[in-house]
Amino acid sequence: MNKQINQKAWLFVLPVFILVAFNALIPLMTVVNYSVQETFGDNVFFWSGLLWFQEVLTSERFQNALIRQLIFTFSILAIEIPLGVAIALTMPRKGPWVPVCLVLMALPLLIPWNVVGAMWNIFALPDIGLLGYTLNALGFDYNFTSQPGDAWFTLILMDVWHWTSLVVLLAYAGLVSIPDAFYQAAKIDGAGSWAIFRHIQLPKMKRVLTIAVLLRFMDSFMIYTEVSVLTGGGPGNSTTLLSIDLVKIALGQFDLGPAAAMSLIYFLIILLLSWVFYTVMMRNEDQ
């Protein structure tokens, strides 16, 4: 049967195009324009060419923020993805506990990001916070406001608490979509739980895990609010991730040109890494 081509369908896509143009393309174009100019306000601009790009690329401040960002992102991915899958595997697939587990898992996702930062800030305070006080009472010298290692520990713990449930819910959705026939076949073959996980559950979860990795990668690479409220980028610059640094340059110093150049470099890094993740994971799926 010949497929009928209906060009009218484009009319239905038009509102989305207009929306994307206004909320993404036009701001992006403006950022590109700003990145090659200098401004002192009042809508007056001076051409500066590629100076800001060169300045950002060679600045130690940007390089350090990028390294911190990469360490943060890969640390939370290394924890949240396996932990999320492990929790999803232990959740019930049938029975009255299913909705209870799902609601409990969804709860951290419903809390606004600035509230999460504020909660963890209070929770981890060494003198009055439950976490901080308990750790100090157990003999650990813990103070996230003055010790970089403790600030990193708290930051990663907060992100894991906030976002692992997203991975859990996605992995769970992948698990419940596996037909019982697969498990019955595995049982007949005498497969153990590891073999079932390795050869049935993991391959069937690949698509949702791809989405989970991409979402968590992009979100964590752009994280701002929680870190800003929890540590403000400190102590010193120890938790100044790319977005925190970018806001400091753009709004703190009002250096719009360098901030625009940094935004574009930041955007290109996210674009490349997302493409690499997606390509590698989809390639494995094809194989």
Binding site: V36, N43, L268, W275
Partner: protein, 92 residues
């Protein structure tokens, strides 16, 4: 009306280039539907659109790397980016 966007001729030409690329792809797709899929030297399955994306993204990194290591002028990375684009469209 568009003064707040701070347009310059070089950036306008840059976007015009991108729009021309996308328009060319649209015309090619209408003329030769299917996206011309193939498996290239890297073992990746790519369509015309993928190859344009890889060419542009690779070119952006070539320019940034040259700018970071050597600085302007950018004639050498321009030549490398063109060669990269040719390589991607021919072999990837």
């Amino acid at each position: 009306m568009l003064t707040w966007m701070a347009w310059t001729w070089p950036t306008a030409l840059f976007f015009l280039f991108i729009i021309t690329c996308l328009a060319t792809l649209t015309v090619l797709e209408l003329r030769y539907p299917g996206g011309d899929p193939r498996r290239g030297v890297f073992g990746l399955d790519t369509t015309r659109g993928d190859r344009l994306f890889i060419s542009l993204l690779g070119s952006a990194y070539i320019f940034l790397a040259y700018l970071g290591f050597f600085g302007p002028p950018l004639w050498i990375p321009l030549a490398i980016a063109l060669a990269w684009g040719f390589f991607v469209f021919r072999y990837v």
